[in-house]
Each structure stands twice: as C-alpha cells, then as structure tokens.
Subunit: 256 residues, 2 copies
DNA sequence: ACAGGATCTTTAGGATCCCAAATCTGGGAA
DNA sequence: TTCCCAGATTTGGGATCCTAAAGATCCTGT
C-alpha cells in the first residue's frame, strides 16, 4: 500500500473521470480535506500529482479547475499510445535480444486462443475468462514495451495510463446492450482478429521485420480507436464513465 | 514565477543531470532542506515531482535514490519524442484546419533561412543568431504539435521535455572542439539540411500528404539521434552534462 | 565471541499553524 | 446610482510539530 496521497489522488481522479465533478468546477484544498477526512498535506501532494497528470489545472488566481477529459480526449490518448506501441514493436523487431522474450509473446497468444475457445464453447461472455484473456493481452503488450530496448517508450506510455482504456493491454468488451448473440459474435470476432494480429506481430518480430511489426501494431492499436468511434455512433451521448464500464484493464481496480 | 517547489525541483533536477550526485546516491529530505534553505514541505512536493519525472526513484525502505539518466537514456528519449513528432506531422497533414497554421511554419522556415545566411556571411557561430534560429525552430516544431489536433501528442512530449535536448525544438550545435572552420561547415550543413527537411514537411502538410509528412519528420527527428551517436564516437566518455552544453533549448534557462 | 533482541536514532508521512496574496464585500464619495 | 477603495475573509504556500516505522547500535545471554 502506498501512502495516503497516492490513493487520495486515485480517488479524486476517479471522481473526476466518473463525472462526479462538473467540468471546470473549482476544487479547494480545504473542501477535499473535509470530504476525505485527511489533512491538507496529502491533499496538496495529490493535487500536484493530478495537475501533472492533466486532469486538473491551476486556475488564474487560486484554486484548481477540474479538467475532465472528454471521450475525444480518450480517443486521442489511445491514438498516442498506439503510436508508441508501434514504435516499440519496430524497436523490438530490431533488437538482437528479442528472442529472450518471444516465448512470453507466444504464451500470451496461446492463452488468448484458449480463452477464445472456451468462450466460444460457452456461447456467452464469462467474466473470469475475459479476465484471463485481458491478463494475457496485457502480458503481450507490456512484454513488447519492455523488450523493445527503449525504456522511455514504456515510461511515456505510463504517463497517460491513468486514463480509462489506457492501461497497457486494456481490452474492450461491448457490454452496452446486454448479451445479445449478435453482440457476442461481434465481440468474438474482434478477439479472434486481435489475436491474429498478435500472431503477425510476433512473427514479424521473430523474423526481424521492423516495418511489418510496426505496421501491424499500428493497425492493431487502431482497432481500439475504431471501437470508440463505433460506441460514439451507437450512443450519441457517450460519456467517459461509459468507456470505463466497457473497458477492462489493470487500472480498473481504482474504479469501484 | 512559480512556487518554490517547482524551482526547487528544477534545481535538484539540474544537480542530478549535471552530475552533482553520484548515480544511486540516497538523498534525504532533511539534507535537501539544509542545502536549499527551505522547509520540508516544498522539498517533499519537489521530490514527488521528480519521482514522477523518473530522475529519482523510491528506495526500498526509505529515502530516494537518484536515477541519473545516461547518454543512452537521452538518446532513447529523443527517439521517442521524434516518433511522437512524426505522428503529429501525419495528423496535421490530415487535419482540415491545418491551413490556419501553415503561415507559422513558413515564417519559421524563412527565419531559419535568414539566420543561415547571416551565419554564412559571418563565417562563425554567433550566439545571438543561433538563438534566433533556435527560437524559429521551436516555433516550427511546437506549431506542428499544437496544430495536429491531438492534444495528447504535445502533452506526452512535455512529459519528457525536462531532460536535456528534449525541449521541443531544441537544436544542437557542436561546440566540443572550438570554432574550427571544419566544424563550422558541418554545423552549417546540418542547419541547411534541417531546414530543407522543414520545407518538405511543410509542403507535405500543405498538400495533405500524411505519409510523406510523417516520413520526413521521422527522418528529420532522426538527425538528433545521429548527432548524439556522432558525439559518442568523437568522445568516448561523453556525459549528459556535455550534451547539455551542446544543446540549445528553452529549458536551458534552468541550467546555470 | 557471537547471535539475537531491545533500544536508540534517523527519517518520512501526516497534522497543524502561520502568513501572504487574492477575492469578496461593504461603505463612502462623486 | 455607480464606482472605487479599504477591510474582511477565503485560500494556498511554507514552516513546524508529532508520530510511526525502518535502520543502526548496543547490550545481554549463551
């Protein structure tokens, strides 16, 4: 467990993302002290943290203004992360020591494959299995970030990973309209397609083809952008809170 | 002027980058209070900031460990920033509202051009003129980051811009071996080459050719990586402090 | 003499206090 | 009635104090 300020920052961040504050609302240190029953010191530390994360901004004179990200913001951030991951894929394909990590990639692919099989047998989304698939997906993506040989790619990804859908390896399952067979089929297709892309990426990395690895990763990352756009078309008034509900990622533990 | 903690963070960061601390050295809050004559509160805020920047890391039990970036780290970070800028160039070339900012790009190119002329006439590096060129260069690059339509590209760039040579638009002049005519010529060639690339990028953006814009920007950014590698070959024991001395950027004001 | 534990010291986190600056409010003058 | 200035109040930054925990040290028992 981290110190209070970190979890405090998580709480406030969550409140902001979920939409408990109106955009542009001013929040004062004293108020936050009261509502969270802590002293001002951790509050100030948390505010500095959140300021650097960009979810709050300093007002002109005094006070902080909440800067709730919009769905468009999330889409943009996903675009950036995807671009960084494509760099990672290229670098890993050029990295002589890439073979040390190939097994991780292959294992992750197989785990996702078996999860797909189970889900297909089951005929519906099961929370445990989707979680397994998500964990394997995270392994796949974070392995590439780690094994690319450039620590700043991963570091830079982390800088925006506090936003919903931006934890590395987070996946999206469309739970918006319940478990109709149609939606299930579409979700399964996405999973199979995504894992097929994983295979191509892994193959390109193994063969040392940086261009193919980067291109495929770019395409792979782009699917997340497309999901968001699909959601936006389905649901005119899509909120960030909705995106949080659709996404599965290791940052979801912060979101009750 | 920001509050004390921000400049304190800048001071400590500078101390670390310049090499006043040994890598892995433990630094305590109390000690920093003494050396900088401030209370513990701003020190703690500064430490949190630096922790998030990655120049210090939390130790196991207590204390922070300085995590001085190596020259290789800088090279990696430059690589990441270049990749992000290439995304920005692509996005700007696709952005319908790009024409609003084209003039800024063209003006910056012309300013650099005239700076090159003056330097050529002068026959040596002049600090004022190089500064003008640097300012125009910064305008060029930050315009693209702003006009690309994706705020997170610029935001993410800023997250690593505290490192030397990583301020957006920072340029490098090789001042390592004095003002020999040979070095001057090489520097001028780099400037002309860089500005020629600027023209291509600007043209590609204007014509709406995202592939060309991205590719050229990638090449343009790569020159910085090459500079670093050149320096490394010239100077076996190249330090981060050396890189700071070579680079010109708007973050240099922090470095006395 | 060595090992283990108790105690002492150092250090970081949290709370509280003080101060300066900024905003708000009310009164007075034009 | 409106504008402006001065005092009151809010609010954020910095300093200081207290506490808990992690190391370090020393003492004691075997």
């Amino acid at each position: 467990m981290e110190s209070i300020d970190t979890e405090l920052a998580a709480k406030i961040r969550n409140d902001i993302l979920v939409g408990n504050y109106d955009g542009g609302e001013r929040l004062s240190e004293a108020q936050l002290c009261e509502t969270h029953n802590v002293s001002r010191t951790p509050v100030r530390l948390a505010l500095r943290l959140l300021e650097r994360e960009g979810v709050i901004r300093r007002g002109e004179g005094r006070g902080y203004l909440v800067q709730s990200p919009s769905v468009e913001d999330i889409r943009q951030a996903v675009e950036v992360r995807g671009h960084l991951e494509s760099l990672a894929a290229r670098l890993m394909a050029q990295n002589p020591s890439r073979f040390d990590h190939l097994n991780n990639l292959k294992q992750a692919i197989e785990q996702i494959e078996s999860a797909i099989s189970e889900l297909t047998k089951l005929g519906r989304l099961d929370d445990g299995i989707t979680r397994q698939a998500q964990a394997a997906n995270e392994t796949f993506h974070s392995t590439i970030l780690q094994a690319c040989g450039n620590d700043y790619v991963g570091y830079t990804c982390e800088q925006i990973s506090h936003l919903p859908m931006l934890a590395v390896g987070s996946m999206v399952f469309d739970r918006s309209v319940g478990d109709t067979p149609d939606h299930f089929e579409r979700g399964m297709f996405r999973l199979r397609m995504g894992n097929a892309q994983h295979r191509v990426i892994c193959d390109a990395i193994e063969k040392g083809d940086p261009v193919r690895a980067e291109g495929m990763m770019r395409e792979h990352s782009h699917t997340m952008v497309e999901y968001i756009q699909t959601f936006e078309k389905q649901n005119e008034s899509l909120t960030v809170a909705d995106l949080i509900a659709y996404s599965t990622g290791h940052n979801e533990k912060k979101l009750p």
